[in-house]
């Protein structure tokens, strides 16, 4: 029985030669990410910025977007961001953090609720006060930092220093590009985005580990082979697996993006991007670093 494959058997593609393309490319992407992050910043959702998010559905079947936008001026709430989605009846309202603390948030919500109550169904209301959002920023940052530290510890124990450095660089690269993705796409950055980022760190490491494990095995097996060829050999060996896994994961995530509903759409999109970046970096970023770091010395001594 002939089976279907995306990567042909016995592939001998010279991935290492491509580093002259992939490195400048990644450098460019990283710079864009940093610049975008610094200039545009992230589109913080209410989890981190505080404020109110309401999802309403018009009982008449037709949401009056301009009237919803007008709420801001009418009640002096500042700008009210209104976004239609799904059918004509659905819209989300985002109200900025009101000056005057938690009581002011609640007062604003109450006024909007009273005004819209007759014509709209409130499908979701989220109000995050100034202190809670500050704490969420803290715990979110702590999460990312902790995960990076645990990754470092894991790699420290697991690999020789050259491989560990390569893995760290690849993970940082993925992290950076994911942040850039959020900055460029203006996807809302919320607590679930932190969850997506931590998952991407896991996925990225997962890809990297598979490649590095094989490189380490090959290093012991083919001691005479020049490093670039040895790495090419390793990557070609795991390539069909890498493609297979990223395809199945992407398929699953694609299903989530298309059918999982708007509540988790940005979460799923970010993760899909993460899978692509992680797959790319495990091959084109992580492995070529070993050429520069002179990985052979490590195994000779070890």
């Amino acid at each position: 029985m002939r089976t279907f494959r995306l990567a042909p058997d016995n592939m001998t593609f010279g991935f290492m030669r491509l580093r002259r393309v992939s490195y400048p490319f990644s450098a460019l992407m990283s710079i864009i990410s940093v610049l975008m992050f610094l200039s545009w910043g992230l589109n913080f959702g209410i989890d981190f910025a505080g404020g109110t998010l309401m999802e309403v559905r018009a009982k008449s079947g037709q949401a009056d977007l301009s009237a919803l936008r007008g709420l801001g001026d009418r009640f002096a709430l500042g700008e009210v961001e209104v976004q239609a989605f799904g059918g004509n009846a659905d819209a989300t309202l985002r109200i900025r953090l009101q000056p005057g603390g938690d009581a002011a948030q609640q007062a604003a919500v109450e006024r909007v609720r009273e005004t819209l109550g007759a014509a709209y169904e409130f499908r979701r209301v989220e109000v995050v006060g100034p202190r809670v959002s500050g704490e969420l920023v803290q715990s979110g940052t702590l999460g990312v930092v902790l995960s990076i530290i645990s990754v470092l510890i894991y790699l420290w124990f697991r690999y020789e220093w050259q491989l560990a450095i390569a893995a760290v660089i690849a993970t940082m690269h993925d992290l950076l590009l994911t942040v850039g993705f959020f900055a460029v796409t203006r996807l809302e950055f919320n607590i679930t985005s932190i969850a997506a980022i931590l998952t991407i760190v896991g996925l990225s490491l997962n890809e990297t580990v598979v490649v590095l494990d094989r490189i380490r095995e090959m290093m012991k097996k083919y001691k005479k082979l020049p490093i670039p060829q040895m790495i090419d050999l390793s990557i070609n060996a795991v390539l069909s697996r890498t493609i297979m896994t990223s395809t199945t994961t992407t398929l699953a995530l694609l299903a989530l993006v298309l059918f999982g509903g708007h509540v988790i759409q940005s979460f799923s999109l970010a993760m899909m991007w993460g899978v692509l970046v992680a797959t790319y970096s495990s091959i084109f970023i992580c492995s070529p670093i070993l050429i520069y770091l002179g990985v052979r010395d490590a195994t000779d001594k070890g």
Binding site: T3, D9, R57, G101, D102, A103, Q105, Q106, V109, F122, R123, R124, V125, E126, V127, G129, R131, V132, G140, L142, G143, L146, S147, S150, V151, Y154, R158, I191, T192, I194, A195, L198, T199, G202, L205, N206, V209, V210, D213, A237, V238, S240, R241, M244, T245, T248, T249, L251, A252, L253, L254, A255, L256, F259, G260, G261, V263, I264, F267, M271
Partner: protein, 530 residues
């Protein structure tokens, strides 16, 4: 490879069966499930999967006890104590007893007066709450300054202790209030030092919930002040039903804590909604005395410093019961009686976070999650099938059991399934096959390198195993960190992801291996199908 211990086969089959057994109740309608709970023996699993608030709809409110308010009432109590002690010791003061920041200060110029009063003031500092022989930190610190100035400062520990007690009390009161709303399985718990989390699943009317939770409900009966009263003894209070202020005496005749019962009712003459209440013995006595002494004068019923109504006392009220009317709507009368029955909050509460999901959106999210899971399942299923043929079927079988096991794990741990949790499961559908892919690709490689079928299978499983453990453990670490940092929906994601990683090691590694071993034993193929 071919040898597979019988106990392993048996235990894997048993695990699968138990898992199926565990998720069956979740698939049944709720009324059948509750019937099962009553009739079936105890050990039969009848529990359904716990759905998060984002899936079943409901309200999540994070409330914060106002610690300034707690401190303020603590300082007022302290001032009363200091006044009592100084009076008992006949100490002469210059100026009054002042409140400043976190301290009470008083000037006692005479050294003899100070000598008698100070030991008694010091006795206040010993924490009353430190039972069980625990040596608590002192609640107050007493400083003696020059020219007879005595400062009694509330310590950090003193404030914290008070706030802790206020939170305990708040939780109790809130529980009584929420229970009175008649909702199912509300969750009320302490969060951090000064916060209370209230989760009420399936609630439609969050405004009413917020009103009931956020009201302090401090009820006082006070006399309306005469025109000639000393302004220092009078508060000008707002009224609930009309503009303008009413002068009300500071002295409180009876407080809400002396109420034993409150029920909504209708006034027999006007038909207007009212609240009937009953005092305990002490309250009844005090109210009787006060009304006897003030016949003909109006008194004020004050709730949270607002006058609800100020009726005239027509005659002594000694029966220990009465009614409050204040142009209520039926719902207001209902709410007020709930609040009065449950008692007042020890301090002001503010809502610092609110997340409510309507049941409509919850149901939509479940549908969307299901649809995504089916689509992802079918796509991955087919992809594995066309890529690996027979082995793909094995992987697909393992995948199906993997999903069953995740759900069984959720039921067993009574962990909450949230929308990100469903996303986590869908993600593990994609990742679970990773282990199979690692193994299969390795087998193909070994077989291309010229190994026989058995030895390629063997080498494939053994060599891939280390990598599988490596790569899965990195994901697992991410899931663990997420679990400890996240809350609510994100935690749900961490749980399903973590469970998914654990079960994938069982299903993708051991179970496929068993299936391939059986297939090989019965088929004795000369060539690998992949």
């Amino acid at each position: 490879m071919l040898r597979f211990a019988r106990w392993k086969v048996v235990s894997i089959l048993a695990m699968t069966l138990v898992s199926i057994f565990l998720i069956v109740p979740s698939l049944l309608p709720a009324d059948l499930r509750s019937a099962m709970q009553k009739t079936l023996p105890h050990w039969v699993p009848t529990q359904a999967i716990v759905l998060g608030l984002d899936l079943q709809g409901g309200a999540h409110l994070l409330l914060e006890v106002d610690s300034n308010d707690v401190l303020r009432s603590q300082l007022n109590n302290l001032r009363d104590d200091v006044r009592r002690i100084l009076r008992e010791e006949n100490a002469r003061l210059t100026g009054g007893i002042g409140l400043q920041g976190r301290m009470v200060q008083v000037r006692v110029p005479d050294a003899g007066d100070r000598g008698r009063a100070l030991p008694k003031l010091r006795a206040l500092a010993i924490p009353a709450g430190s039972s069980l022989g625990a040596v608590g930190a002192p609640v107050y610190e007493i400083n003696e300054q020059a020219d007879g100035l005595v400062q009694i400062i509330v310590t950090e520990a003193g404030v914290n202790e008070r706030v802790r007690r206020a939170v305990d009390q708040t939780i109790e009161v809130l529980r009584r209030r929420v229970d009175a709303l008649g909702t199912t399985e509300p969750n009320i718990q302490r969060q951090g030092a000064d916060r209370v989390l209230v989760q009420v699943p399936g609630l439609q009317d969050t405004n009413r919930l917020k009103e009931i939770l956020g009201t302090t409900a401090k009820l006082e009966f006070r006399m309306v002040a005469d025109a000639g009263a000393n302004p220092a003894d009078v508060d000008q209070l707002d009224q609930t039903d009309q503009p303008g202020k009413i002068p009300v005496e500071k002295r409180v005749m009876v407080e809400g804590e002396d109420l034993t019962d409150a029920q909504p009712s209708f006034d027999q003459r006007s038909g207007e909604p009212i609240v009937n209440f009953r005092f305990n013995i002490r309250g009844g006595q005090r109210f009787g005395e006060a009304t006897s002494a003030n016949v003909g004068r109006p008194f004020a019923i004050v709730l949270d410093n607002k006058v609800i109504s100020a009726p005239r006392i027509l005659g002594p009220i000694t029966g220990g019961s009465g009614q409050i009317s204040g142009r209520f709507t039926v719902e207001q009368a209902n709410n007020l009686s709930i609040l009065l029955r449950a008692g007042a909050l020890p301090a002001k509460l503010s809502i610092v976070e609110e997340r409510t999901v309507g049941p409509g959106l919850g149901q939509d999210s479940i549908e969307a999650g299901k649809r995504a899971a089916y689509v992802a399942g079918v796509l991955v299923f087919c992809y594995m099938l066309i890529t690996y043929g027979v082995f793909g079927i094995f992987a697909d079988l393992a995948l199906a059991i993997h999903i069953i096991m995740i759900f069984a794990g959720l039921v067993l741990l009574q962990a909450t399934l949230t929308l990100p949790g469903i996303a986590g499961i869908v993600l593990t559908i994609g990742m679970a096959v990773d282990s199979n892919v690692l193994i299969y690709e390795r087998i193909r490689e070994e077989s291309r390198a010229g190994r026989s079928v058995v030895s390629a299978l063997d080498a494939g499983f053994n060599r891939a195993f280390a990598t599988i453990i490596d790569s899965q453990s990195t994901m697992f670490v991410a899931a663990v960190i997420l679990y400890f940092l996240g809350s609510g929906p994100v935690r749900g994601f961490a749980v399903s992801l973590g469970l998914g990683i654990l079960t994938t090691v069982v299903t993708a590694v051991t179970m496929t291996r068993m299936m391939i071993a059986l297939w090989f034993r019965f088929g004795r193929p000369q060539k690998l199908p992949i």
